[in-house]
Symmetry: C2
């Protein structure tokens, strides 16, 4: 789908995103890929942020996950990420307009100290901070499989997140950590396999925040 | 290369990155892909942040780009990114240890105002701010093709960046903007095609900062 000799198109700054999303939808159609209409806006934004059409095949959704997450966000749910990159990518202006806040505890000095003392990752401790916020939370995990494992442990103890976005990227324990989330009974959006990342986590949050625009 | 039934490995937190990089190198070798040793550390980190082995084929480097960029960074060069996500991903502690700073002008209110008044993107204006810093600069573009076009215009007028990392992702003008950088005479690391992103831009900066570790 890449042409090295592609010419420049004249597109106004405010139209670049809309044009990109139209191109993605057109190419999915050309390729004969039909997406579940409920999940389409999320999948298209994951492709938009990676230019990787694999996401059309590997993103999996628990029943009603998108509708439930949008309802939670509109009711003021917070978002907790496992990287400051993902935090930087979440549209906090829109989130705040619903009453929500976004958090990342990874760079907190007390998180680093506790992780070191316990011999666990900062991501593990960061998720525990998120589960202790005492408000409805959507977790967006784009980096650390240990964040997902930490959430699974909390879920086993009865914690109920509004949604787990499980899209860590990587080579060590990423695949089994994602599979573990799929076996829980909480709402999830998971990218099966090794791919994912902070940009994908943020794009999914934004797709949920934006609705079907 | 994905196994849904992959078991959990016991890996200490401090060993996860090293283990991941070893897995990537082993799989490249298995696939018969030999990388130029000078560029290997950059390519492996791009794969590490995406789990996408396409980067082994699509990342292209001007002659000596990695060595020149490492020398520039060790001499205190600054880094300018086109997203706050990429900025969040750059290891600013290591950068500061060499005397450098990282900048992203995208969220500056005066950048937004100027972009609106001129009918250009904020990325265009942000890169102009970078070229006006008056210090040696490495530009890391993970999002906006207009940032690359802006840099090409500055280069045509005689501006000389230490390096252009041209890895915007997307569907509108991304491919021709990358090809335009390849035709300049400045040091570059470019990912041909549509793929790239803020995480890739940050990973390349960090690979340059870390040396061959």
């Amino acid at each position: 789908m890449n042409q090295a000799s592609e010419p420049f198109l004249h597109v106004e700054p405010e139209d670049i995103e809309r044009t990109s999303l139209s191109i993605i939808r057109a190419e999915l159609k050309e390729a004969g890929i039909r997406l579940d209409p409920e999940n389409e806006s999320v999948i298209v934004r994951a492709i938009h942020t990676t230019a990787d059409f694999d996401y059309a095949k590997t993103l999996v959704f628990s029943e009603g996950a998108v509708a439930k997450a949008r309802e939670a966000l509109r009711s003021g749910a917070h978002i907790v990420t496992d990287t400051n990159m993902a935090l930087a990518g979440v549209n906090r202006r829109v989130l705040a307009s619903f009453g929500g806040e976004a958090h990342c505890f990874m760079a907190d000095p007390d998180v680093a100290a506790e992780a070191k003392a316990r011999g666990v990752t900062r991501a593990t401790v960061s998720m525990e901070r998120g589960t202790a916020l005492g408000v409805p939370v959507i977790f967006a995990v784009g980096n650390a499989p240990t964040a997902l494992i930490s959430l699974c442990e909390a879920i086993q103890k009865g914690f109920r997140p509004e949604l787990v976005i499980g899209v860590p990227v990587g080579f060590v324990n990423v695949v089994p950590a994602k599979e573990q989330i799929l076996r829980t009974d909480v709402p999830y959006i998971v990218n099966r396999g090794r791919k994912g990342g902070s940009t994908v986590a943020a794009a999914i949050c934004n797709a949920l925040l934006y609705g079907d625009r």
